[in-house]
Amino acid sequence: MKKYFALLLAGVMALSLAACGGSSSAPATPAETQKEETAAEAPAEEKAEAEAPAAEAPAAEEAAAEIKTVEAGKLHMATNAAFPPYEMISDNGGFEGIDVEIATLIAQKLGLELVVDDMEFGSVITSVQGGKSDIAMAGLTVTDERKQNVDFTESYATGVQVIIVPEGSDIQTVDDLANNKMIGVQDGTTGYIYCSSPVEDGGYGEDHVTSYPNGAMAIEALKGGKVDAVVIDNEPAKAFVQANAGLKILDTEYIVENYAIGISKDNNGLRDAVNNALKELIADGSVQLIVDKYINAEK
């Protein structure tokens, strides 16, 4: 018995040592986070825009000297390059998309070189938390629970979740989803989070949701009749419906949400620098220009 206890103790000690390394700057975070949370609320955006040119510009240049990145002189961006038009692989094998272009401009402002690290969507955040990448940009939606484990910048774009149904489906509006339907979603997306939350929180419960590793599989399940509807981001939804006859997107959107950049809680210097650079880019219209180029221009 004593032997096991000693072993257990050793395990606990090893664990606490490992965790020490991660949270060395922990005391600084709570206050910062709260500031961030209030600033990230939607109405605050215009206020930030107004302040940005005056107050933030010199701060960004100063910050460039002192920010820590994973690799000196480079800004590593963790993403899942299978999410058009936000990030995708271009025809020549490079990366392109709204997130990639915005990140390029941010890196320029900070005097760094952008490096895109392509990985599974589920790994994007852990990569930033673990110090393998500097920023996470993959159409990440801000939620309160996520804020406890990662810091978010200002929101730079809005994503829309829509509902795809087969033509002739009796699901006409969002409200029809509540009628004991089976909803297909993609693992780890906010579509899953919202749909699977309990009925009293506005969801449909776990029993009415089937979650697939990627969007294409959810669409496959919809075509086979395994699920009655698929809730997914608007842009990939358009591509899926175009590629599969007999499917349509409902006119009413499921939810509108804000995309932001995720940064480790242990790197406040970088977070502030990126956030300031992003605010400037929003203020001078560069972000809007990029969004228009990929989304609005298609129409």
Binding site: P27, G184, G188
Partner: protein, 239 residues
């Protein structure tokens, strides 16, 4: 140190307690168990069937080869070749999205896929068990007037099972851990439950370490039970 433990406690709280998340892990482990049990039963039935057909075919003597048996044997060989020669995940994807593309009974699809997969491996294990029994046992049984099936059922298979129990135990443990693959067809087993909580909270440490411990504990319990069973069966042994 104080903040460290507070952090860990907060993470633990978020991953297991908040929003009654422990229920997600419980229902996940329930699904994993159901799939393992169902697949085990299908696997053993298929395994015994294939093993008996194949040994029956291999042990034919003289020139009177039964055509029916040859066809059955060819079919069994085809089955083991295909199942052992393709990845489990690919089999699951084919079952989920091609063969049963309209079925909403995901547990059923998972049980069937894993059972068919396990059957191919179990068949080889059981065949090795049957081959390990001295041919004299069969000859003695037959000369006492028992038919082939009775000797197989009452004399050969019970002795074979005893010999192959460690290998069968291995198969059971592998099967239980392989249930984590059913996430690809959309079934919420223990692994998917943890993935979903990771996606909701953006923290990986507690959910993943947590399920690793859960899998480990279950496998340790299974190992213990198998050990007890093995000791029981060995009670009448002389070695």
């Amino acid at each position: 140190m104080g903040t460290l433990f507070q952090d860990l406690a907060a993470q633990f709280n978020q991953a297991f307690i908040e929003a009654d998340r422990w229920q997600r892990y419980l229902s996940g482990i329930g699904i994993s168990f159901t799939v393992t049990l169902g697949a085990l039963i299908i696997g053993i039935i298929l395994g015994v069937l294939v093993a008996v057909i194949r040994t029956l075919h291999d042990q034919q003597k003289g020139t009177d080869h039964s055509v029916l048996l040859s066809i059955a044997n060819a079919f069994c060989e085809f089955y083991t070749t295909v199942i052992r020669g393709t990845p489990m995940m690919v089999q699951l994807l084919i079952m989920g999205f091609v063969i049963f593309k309209s079925s909403r009974n995901l547990v059923g699809v998972a049980i069937l896929s894993l059972g068919i997969n396990s059957g191919a491996y179990t068949a080889e294990i059981i065949r090795s068990g049957i081959m390990s029994i001295d041919p004299g046992q069969m000859e003695a049984g037959r000369s006492l007037g028992m038919d082939y099936i009775t000797v197989m059922k009452d004399i050969i298979i019970p002795q074979a099972i005893k010999n192959i129990l460690p290998a069968l135990g291995n198969e059971l443990i592998t099967l239980f851990k392989d249930t984590s693959l059913v996430t690809v067809i959309g079934l919420t087993d223990l692994t998917k439950a943890a993935q979903q909580i990771q996606a909701k909270t953006y923290q990986a440490f507690m959910p993943y370490i947590g399920i690793a411990i859960m899998y480990l504990v279950v496998v340790m319990i299974l190992t213990k039970l198998l050990g007890i069973l093995e000791r029981r069966l060995r009670e009448s042994d002389r070695r």
